[in-house]
Amino acid sequence: MSTLELGEVVKRYEGGGETVNAVDGVSLSVAPGEFVALYGPSGSGKTTLLMMAATIKRPDAGSITFGGRELASLTKRESARFRRETVGIVFQSFHLMQGASALDNASLKLFALNMRLGEAHDMARPWLERLGLGHRLNHKPSEMSMGERQRVSIARALANKPRLLLADEPTGNLDSRRSREVLGLLSEICAEENIPAVLVTHDPQATAFVTRVHTLRDGTLSDGLDLDLHTSMPG
């Protein structure tokens, strides 16, 4: 089993004549079976950090390794392969195909692995059933609630049996009961499959489901939940 390692990672954005350090020298290690939360307000750089771990963005400095393999130096094709074979990503805004059924959406990544449709469906269906969507397999996103859409997105992330799970505000659009269910499920899967998982959230309650919490503020990482930040955050 592999560990995700981030070492002194920096990511800058330029705009309006200014340079902003979205991520500023972050180091982090997530071992197999660990479910780590990155807590922080909007704009703190936590999604950027997650995107770099997913090889969607490249760091400007520092290193990101998974199982000892440097991710920052992957070619585009290698990073695509890394995402489709190794990573499962859950997006806050789901990124579901609007015309596709729950089953097809959950199978999307498997199509890129050249599976026949029947095989892909066979792999994705158990996850949807486990996530309580066994009766909604043929429904489209527009026919589902936000919570159901998020569960489809989670099923899609898990369908390829990922070795690294990354979740970006997976409960951002859910009510508290559904949030607890989803977080419990992610935690369970992480432990069951013995894979490292990173959760980006600004919901302090989410920290109850994780093995470790870090707070990200202005691009810098600190250990634990920053309660000052929590009390100053709206809502």
């Binding site: 695509a80 990124h95 527009s142």
Partner: protein
Amino acid sequence: MKWARRVSFNPTVLGMGVQGLYAIYRERWRYYRALELMAGAGIAIGVSLVFGVLVANSSILGSTREAIDAVNGTASLQLVARSPHGFDQGLTQRVAELPGVQTAAPILRESAVIEGPHGRMLGQLVGVSPRIVGLQGSATKDLGAGAQLLQGGVGLPAGVANTIGAHTEGKARLLVNGIAHVVQVRAALDAGAIGSLAASRVIVALLGPAQTLAGEPGRVTQILVKAYPGKDRQVEAGLRRLAAGQLNIEPANHELELAQTALKPTNQSTSLFAAISLMVGFLLALNAILLTVPDRRLEVAELREQGYDSRQVIAVLGSQALVLGIAASLAGVLLGSILAHTIFDEVPNYLATAFPITGHQQVSLLAVLVAMSCGVLATLVASMWPILDLRKSREIDAVLQEPGEPGQSIGDDIALNAALLGVVILVLATLMVLVNSGLMILGGVALAFAAPCFVPILFRAATGVLCHIARNYHGKMVAIATIELEATATRSVALASITALAIYGSIAVGGARTDLIGGIDKGISQEWNTAAVWVTPDQNIFDTDSFRVPGVTATIASVPGIASVTAHQGAFLDVGTERLWIRAAPPGNASMILSSELRQGDLARGRALMAQDGWAAVSSGFAGEEGLHVGSPFTLPTPSGPTRFNVAAITTNIGWPPGTITLNTRDYSHYWQTTDPTTLAVDLKPGTTPAAGVRAIRRALGGTSPLRVQTSAERIAEVKIIGRQGLSVLGDISNLLLLISALALAAALSTTIYQRRGRLASLKAQGFDRLQLWRGVLIESAVVLSIGCLDGAILGLYGHALADRYLRVSTSFPAPFSVGPVQVILTLAIVLGISLAVLAVPGYSAAGVPPELSFQE
């Protein structure tokens, strides 16, 4: 997807299994069905223009080839008369007796008009003998049995019989060489009997009766010759001896070559218009699919987030483009086919008098393939636009970070580079045409490419101006419209590009056509205004059909109020690959050379020279091919043998594309061995009005005379109509382009309105009412359409000027450039009128979108 469980077939393309590709496109189709259908409609409309134009550009020649082959069969050579009066039929036997000749079939051909209860039609009377069966042509193979059938009457192709309302064993009136006959219709001949000639305008009779009807007893105009294998050279030498320099010896299918040459200038003009239209069609299809690019870019970004690599993304985009492109292109070919059958299925009368052309529509596989390829290529090129996001320097989710709607942003660098590219194309197109006007077709295509290049920078400028207005002068809807325009830049630029292309094509093609018609009309008016009244045989168009009515000149001259009657003569003469129009006017007559026709030489001196024997005015195309200048000598193969003339002046082609040579009637009568006139020009005494003169002449000729008596105004009106028939394809293309452009704009506007619903809902949720939103939609659309109109009108006028130059230099057609503000305004009004009509109603409907829509993903 039950089939998928059963099917194990899953070949891989660029790292993607076809089942996966199918699943992804199926989902796209489900969600973006309306958008895909609209884009498909745009592609289909573009392809229909391409296909319709290709068919229009090829059908006449293809059908002529079929008709000639159907008669000629296995004949390899022919002996052809140089005069419509033909030569002695007795020569047929001498040809048949030449060593190596297997079959010699005499034919008589004369222009004629056939009249039935429901109408009349111009065509050719063709007299054949049963010998022609020996040539085994598809049209004549059954003549052995048919000879009995035709005995004493005529056979008509089924199409002609239908048009004029003639039926078997009924009567019809045949007008030929100035004489009217009532003939028995023996048969309505369908394709089963005469092959492709069934769609032609031939009036078939046995040779003897045909000679009687034409008033040419014992004469034929052509002998088709079939030689024994390997004996062609020997037979040709024998024919040359028999011809004695007074007849032409040509390959049997020579007429096809003549038709090709006759059609060449018209085809050149058509090709120019067609090329511009093809490119406009291609770019319309391209832009239709460009409207869907933002959605495709989003789809690509999301697939890449899921781990799809570049090859797989290309496979997804490519497969989607292929499916949409092929389906839409098929629909486009069907639509184009309908357009071609309804709009282009017309044979110009003036060509029907000179060649056995048919109205048979030719839809070649090549035209289908080219049109399909254009549609699929346009779809592929535009659909693959998102692969630019695969560049190494671009982050995977870059499209999601762009300002405005994802995928809609157009950067300053793109706008500037596109404009620079446009300038380069413009300069290259100009240089090409100036250096070699023959490259105008390429130039016209290049200008079509340049038109969309200027749209992004014009768009930037327009939004800048709007921003200024919103800030300093006007209320919120201008500000909202500006923001919306900037947020949907790709869509707006694509829409403005479609407008620009529509306007460019319509103005360039329509303007050049108007100038061409103006030039030809001016010449026609000047020519037929040289006398007050004209007397012609019914079918005479180009002064090539003579008539033999004894005493007619004296009869007319004796009518009170008539000052003088002068005879004009003329005929077609085959010289090399040209079927030239030889026209002759009385020495010193003003119509010998007209100022509107003069290209080189002095008008007065030219007329003076032509009053002398041995001088002629030649058209510039013929002069160019023969290397002639004013004063140069040249030789014409007249019916009396090779005859030497000198060039008195160089003229336009006077409306007959292969070329024209003008002589005085003294020379013509001498060398063509006939005094038969083709037209009588009548001058009136002072105090006699043209109408009174016409009435008096008609009374003198008698009510049943087949000769037509017309005032100059009537004659001019008729000839103008006939002259325009030759340009009918250009008119068809021009009209089609305008219609298609309006349809393409309507499809594009519908697409954009559909795409806007989400944003309109969002504005509604923020408190804007329906009327405000509608106003905003109209302001935005007006800005976008205006950008397109400005760009298209400027480039259209430029293209129009270049096209005129091409028409003058390369085709010898008179085409003086005129801006034609009415034409420009009319084009803009039609395109904008249709667009705004399309926009107003659905725009209002779209503005009524429920605000809840903004809360749905």
